[in-house]
């Protein structure tokens, strides 16, 4: 039986592409904001584009934080995409305004400093050997479109995390975090649903971990 993937419907993100990409690799995908549906699906995708503060308001409206917390307790996979990754961190700073995030990971989302912003286009990533998300596509390019990113990984080895995080970096003006794999919680700054065959492979890798 194919795994079910819920895409959290909170008013942000290119949900259509996320749904079709999950279906393309064999999942049964549904768009939902229903608490139980999102809690019980084999996998949950948190999409997201636009402003951090607006996305957090949307997440709060559908109790997205509580859904993710509950899934973490049950070790059920969650994949955040773009702003859906950024909100997993403690806070985001956009236009000088600090917005609280979900705080699954320590760290701050801040403005990219580069000659040309947004960072728009296909860029490479540097996944560590421990990555399963990037298996087979370690050398591929992925499609990014963002002006903000997490540029410092502040979690220490002594933090009491059950699953040691696998952090994948990219570089645009300065290094920033392109992906994190941390037990059931994974997130990517780029858009795998827009990254052609490489992106579909990554989504396939993630769907392959669902039961």
């Amino acid at each position: 039986m194919s795994p079910t993937v819920a895409v959290l419907d909170y008013g942000f993100g290119n949900v259509r592409s996320a749904l079709r990409a999950a279906e393309h690799v064999g999942a049964t995908a549904i768009l939902s904001s229903d608490f139980d549906t999102c809690l019980n699906a084999d996998g949950l995708i948190i999409p997201g584009v636009g402003a951090y503060a607006a996305c957090m308001q949307g997440i709060d409206r559908v109790r997205g934080g509580a859904i993710i917390d509950a899934r973490m307790v049950a070790s059920r996979p969650v994949l955040g995409i773009c702003v859906g990754m950024q909100i997993m961190f403690e806070q985001g700073i956009e236009h000088g305004i600090t917005t609280r995030g979900l705080g699954q990971w320590p760290g701050t989302v801040d403005q990219l400093v580069a000659p040309i912003v947004p960072h728009m286009g296909w860029n490479n990533v540097v996944p560590p050997d421990s990555s399963s998300l990037f298996a087979g596509v370690e050398s591929e390019l992925f499609y990014f479109v963002h002006s903000y990113a997490v540029q410092e990984w502040v979690m220490t080895d002594t933090d009491p995390y059950q699953h040691p995080p696998t952090v994948t970096w990219s570089d645009y003006g300065a290094p920033f975090i392109a992906a994190v794999e941390n037990g059931p919680l994974s997130a990517v700054q780029f858009h795998p649903e827009k990254s052609g065959e490489a992106g579909l492979t990554l989504i396939n890798n993630w769907v392959g971990t669902l039961t």
Partner: protein
């Protein structure tokens, strides 16, 4: 940084059909935008632009359906432009699955639309489409045109690009109406002039004839290069463009086939 230069194909669409002709072998239906989009995806195109030249608003639903079908089958970024006049138009296209929308005439008529759109949907998905032409009366020597280059908007092109960036657009699709259709190369002076005024990405458009033209446009300061008919008629392939860029030490995305 190894951000790749983007190679973009533009498809002109009227009432859901590709017009201006596309001349490829192996196409079941040369007018079907989805079949063309899939083919370009397989050929290694980095991004697609659908330019909706539909005159009547009653055909807008046809365009939305096209965008939906495209998002269902083509997993690369898609920009939709043409006839976008309001926040509601943008919302409908993004919901249908467009990644970005390009705004042209409506922004000239009411520049605040750019600010409202960028605030509502995020800079990353709002593109200013700027049809520029050499115009001696403008400070930069380049003016903004409307109606496919036939009429002057009475604006300086470089200043307009700068204003749009200040309003929050995330990218400029810079069309040279002088170079368009000539196949004599992109207008490099235009690219340099706009590059000097804004720090957002520029897509160079108009005038591409041979692979080395694309290299010159990137070296002039564009982050992406767009062409239409020379790709559609197979005069220049995506692979040839990428080879030329790569030979000039410009990073590109090599096309891959990973998932069956």
């Amino acid at each position: 940084m190894t951000l790749a230069a983007r190679v973009i194909a533009c498809l002109d669409v009227d009432a859901g059909r590709v017009v201006k002709g596309v001349n490829f072998v192996d196409l079941v239906d040369a007018g079907d935008p989805i079949e063309l989009a899939s083919m370009y995806g397989a050929a290694g195109i980095d991004e697609l632009v659908f330019l909706d030249i539909t005159a009547s608003s009653s055909d807008r639903e046809t365009t939305l359906e096209l965008v939906r079908r495209s998002a269902d089958q083509v997993f690369i970024p898609v920009t939709v432009g043409g006839g976008i006049r309001s926040i509601e138009d943008i919302d409908a296209l993004l919901r249908a699955g467009a990644d970005k929308v390009s705004i042209n005439t409506a922004a000239i008529a009411r520049p605040e639309l750019l600010r409202e759109a960028a605030q509502r949907f995020g800079s990353q998905c709002i593109v200013l489409s700027l049809d520029a032409r050499r115009e001696s009366g403008q400070p930069s020597g380049f003016g903004v045109t409307t109606h496919g280059g036939r009429e002057s908007a009475g604006l300086d092109a470089v200043q307009w690009a700068q204003s749009a960036a200040d309003f929050g657009v995330g990218e400029i699709l810079l069309n040279s109406m002088d170079a368009d259709g000539t196949k004599a190369g992109f207008d490099l002076e235009l690219i340099k002039a706009v590059r000097g005024a804004v720090n957002i990405p520029i897509i160079a458009s108009g005038g591409a004839g041979v692979p080395s033209d694309f290299v010159a446009a990137i070296n002039a300061g564009a982050q992406a290069v767009l062409a239409a008919s020379i790709f559609h008629f197979g005069e220049v392939s995506i692979a040839q463009v990428k080879s030329a860029l790569k030979a000039d030490s410009i990073p590109v995305r090599e096309s891959t086939r990973l998932v069956s």
